[in-house]
Symmetry: C2
Subunit: 314 residues, 2 copies
């Protein structure tokens, strides 16, 4: 059987046809254009799904199900409860999509879906429990326990970015303060770098962006840190410290077999991983116990399609 996976993002909708092994057979994408009515957007999803099926010469009989990774919260009845980026509230995604392709439709949060992809076809395959941390614009989480997705009793779980790590800390877009994603995300790296660069106009970061702070991103900061620039190193080390604290919180809470770092920031690979591993013991409650394995995600951007597709395999 085959599976359609839809990665619904704020900018693009990526759609792929995935086989039993979790490999993408065909894929396409279309702009989200989030401001239009959801009916049009979902019609485009269905058109993309049909397109990849045609491309791979797969009939509906060979299609097991459709899965959608959403940047928000869905309930068990196929309703998207809310999706801040898209301005969606109570959108009947399943029912709407089934008007075009009458197959089971599964949906879950995008970070959960990415963690599920790594478990089904990536770096955490074969583990019993894992926590996926997406280090992107925000900090997302995907939890697999006993080989099943854990998204909470009411769909509010695995929001690792909104665990508070600093009482009365940096204001968060969610309305609270001190949420982990204000410290452990690309957005946080940029904020910290801008603060540091304000006092260091000649640092390597500022030279790389030709003095334009709006051009600072996580890669620029990490590249400057790799070159040994002291301002960049200071930002990098602060980020690593916060991330080590967030990882300690994952371990002290559920202590999974494996913790996977994904999302754009994780593209720094071993440079990030080695630094986090070196910092971690200082922030652990039980530094002498065996620890979860810490790994970089292996599926990159494809995790969204693969994990969504394989929701039908849970």
């Amino acid at each position: 059987m085959y599976y359609i996976g839809i990665d619904l993002g704020g900018t693009n909708i990526a759609v792929g046809l995935v086989n039993e092994e979790g490999r993408i057979i065909a894929k396409t994408e279309t702009p989200t254009l989030a401001s239009r009515p959801y009916q049009e957007l979902i019609k485009d999803m269905a058109a993309c799904a049909k397109k990849v099926m045609e491309e791979a010469k797969i009939t509906e009989d060979e299609l097991h199900s459709i899965g959608v990774g959403i940047p928000g919260v869905a309930d068990k009845d196929g309703m998207v409860i809310f999706c801040t980026n898209l301005g969606w509230r109570n959108v009947p995604l399943r029912a709407e999509l089934q008007q075009y392709i009458n197959k089971p439709v599964y949906m879950d949060n995008d970070a959960t879906v990415a963690g599920w992809a790594e478990y089904q076809a990536g770096v955490s395959r074969g583990t019993d429990s894992s926590v996926f941390m997406t280090l992107g614009t925000g900090l997302g989480g995907g939890i697999v326990m006993n080989g099943k997705i854990w998204a909470g009793a009411h769909g509010a779980g695995s929001e690792l970015g909104h665990l508070v790590i600093e009482v009365d800390g940096v204001p968060c877009t969610c309305g609270k303060r001190g949420c982990a994603e204000r410290y452990c995300s690309a957005t946080a790296i940029i904020r910290m770098a801008r603060e540091a660069c304000a006092d260091a106009p000649n640092c390597l970061i500022m030279r790389a962006v030709e003095g334009d702070m709006d051009k600072i991103n996580a890669k620029v900061v990490f590249d400057a840190a790799k070159e040994g620039d002291s301002v960049a190193m200071q930002v990098f080390n602060r980020f690593v410290k916060y991330l080590a604290i967030a990882i300690n919180n994952v371990i002290s809470f559920i202590d999974p077999d494996m913790i996977i770092l994904g999302g754009g920031v994780s593209r720094a690979g071993d440079f990030l991983l080695d630094a986090v591993k070196a910092a971690l013991p200082e922030y652990l409650f039980y530094p002498t116990l065996k620890q979860p394995e810490l790994r970089i995600a292996s599926l990159g951007n494809d995790a969204g399609i693969i994990g969504a597709a394989l929701l039908g395999k849970e």
Copy 2:
């Protein structure tokens, strides 16, 4: 069948015989005297177990198993890896106990055991997932998911007291800083009350302890808060805020069906529960979603014996 439950504390060892329904049929206790060799201490455990069996006229044939709740970490081979209060490291508790009573021996952390007791025979019975928070000297956690105890892949999980809620915050006995138990425990209430009383020598707390700060405990503070004393209310409200943040962290991470407040501080009952419920929405990521039910533990001190005994039922 019957079950022996042993609640191994720093001061006393409480031992009970428990039936299938989770009711205590007979119980006894003996001083821990933690400084003596572990062999002697475990011998006393066995003697207490035999005593309650005799008292209830139960033979070894009718005994299913023995369970022990320990203030520390055990591995799957029946070894206590460490137990700070008792000064234990790598103590072969199972093997030692089986010298006296040759039955299966199960062991788990004391907060985990208390959460298991509430699930098996108390307030969280019938739920699919629950998180038990012991508000005592420290802050412990007991996680039940899909009807099973979750203690982590390496035994380091459910240490809710050691999730960091304040980067570089109050130093913790564990060596880290800003751990939740520095803010959400009887110890934290006492520390905050002493700080507040230093500037308010005539407040109700100080009058209640006749000016002796060493006599301040959580109950004195809560009693003064109930009377409307402004200093006590300020301490109480700070504690409630921190607890609401810790509860948000539980919800944002695993979003269980139910969160149970146990331990000595929870004896404040509705006075505490109502205040936490009122404060919580401000600290939640998804305040509009259905939330876990928040309840006070129902089994009191017996949870340690009952939960330990019923480890054999998992």
